[in-house]
């Protein structure tokens, strides 16, 4: 082997080791895709369960949500949202685990721990804020808060995985801010942010890296 190809190999090793040790590269595009689909299915179920599907597009969604007689509806909505969340997280973990096996990479590493901490701090803060908003009957701010805190979580976790996660985070934050400006369309913004954006992101990632 001549020395030049040796040096070239050295550079390749440096780059590979730096990437693998500082970024979690087993995140699967499929998890984004399925999270988006689950969100849309969840939204549809919520829509059918809670209200007449033909009023989905109108602001009656929020009159439905905030009127005093709709305690059961609210509980149902929250159940559906929680199920969506649990399924989406479960599926991302499953696909990432599967991908890490295929890549021969470990899933529980110093980087994935850091990724998780950076994801969880804004996410848990958001979760608590949403509970507070709920308790204080600030219904119109709940969906914007979901989108904004989720976006912040992705932006902060993005440093430890693919750059695309960072941009997905920015898109979620933007969606959340717009939603805060036009809160009566919260349901549509929710479907866009958690459904469409995830699907688009998942497809891009899948085609690019898998």
């Amino acid at each position: 082997m001549n020395s030049k190809s040796n040096y070239f190999e050295d550079l390749k090793i440096i780059k590979k080791v730096m990437e693998e040790s500082s970024r979690f590269l087993s995140l699967s595009g499929l998890s984004g895709l399925f999270a988006g689909l689950i969100a849309l299915v969840g939204a549809t179920v919520a829509g059918l369960l809670i209200m007449n599907s033909r009023i989905l597009l109108s602001d009656e969604f929020f009159t439905g949500l905030s009127s005093d007689g709709s305690g059961i509806h609210r509980a149902l909505l929250i159940t559906v949202l929680s199920l969506v969340l649990i399924l989406a997280i479960g599926i991302s973990v499953y696909f990432s685990y599967r991908r890490s096996l295929r890549q021969g990479l470990k899933i529980w590493t110093p980087v994935s721990k850091r990724l998780l901490v950076n994801l969880m701090v804004p996410l848990v803060t958001g979760g608590i804020s949403i509970i507070i908003l709920y308790v204080q009957h600030e219904w119109l701010l709940i969906i914007p808060a979901m989108l904004i805190f989720y976006g912040l979580a992705l932006v902060s976790a993005g440093k430890f995985t693919y750059n695309e996660v960072f941009y997905l985070g920015l898109a979620e934050i933007l969606t959340g801010l717009l939603c805060a400006l036009f809160p009566v369309y919260g349901f549509l913004f929710w479907c866009f942010g958690f459904g469409f954006l995830h699907i688009a992101y998942g497809l891009i990632m899948y085609r690019k890296y898998e």
């Binding site: 030049k4 090793i13 440096i14 730096m18 693998e20 040790s21 590493t109």
Partner: protein, 98 residues
């Protein structure tokens, strides 16, 4: 320090030492077992290369206990970071010049 005219550092000629430095350049600190897994080397092999880097003041060792288990982690020193950067630059210059 054993630095050749081209700026390449003899210490980094070994691939395992190169790997250790690459990990520590992009992480504040990294523990022994994770280094072992990342680089795919044996205990003894990794330990001897870590020792060499430590003796040349390129990395620092932090020993602490997590519960009752000893946990050793490593981080790069100022000198280590500088030398690695010039080594990296030298490698890139060689590739570009040919």
């Amino acid at each position: 320090m054993k630095v050749s005219i081209s700026g390449l550092n003899k210490l980094f000629e070994n691939r395992i030492r190169l790997g250790i430095m690459s990990v520590l350049m992009v992480n504040n600190s990294y523990d022994f077992n994770s280094l072992k897994e990342t680089l795919g080397v044996t205990d003894g092999n990794l330990a001897s290369h870590l020792k060499a880097l430590e003796e040349n003041y390129l990395i620092k060792v932090n020993k602490k206990f997590i519960g009752r288990k000893p946990n050793t982690s490593y981080s790069v020193t100022e000198t280590g970071a500088q030398l690695f950067r010039s080594h990296l630059k030298a490698l890139e210059d060689i590739i570009k010049s040919q």
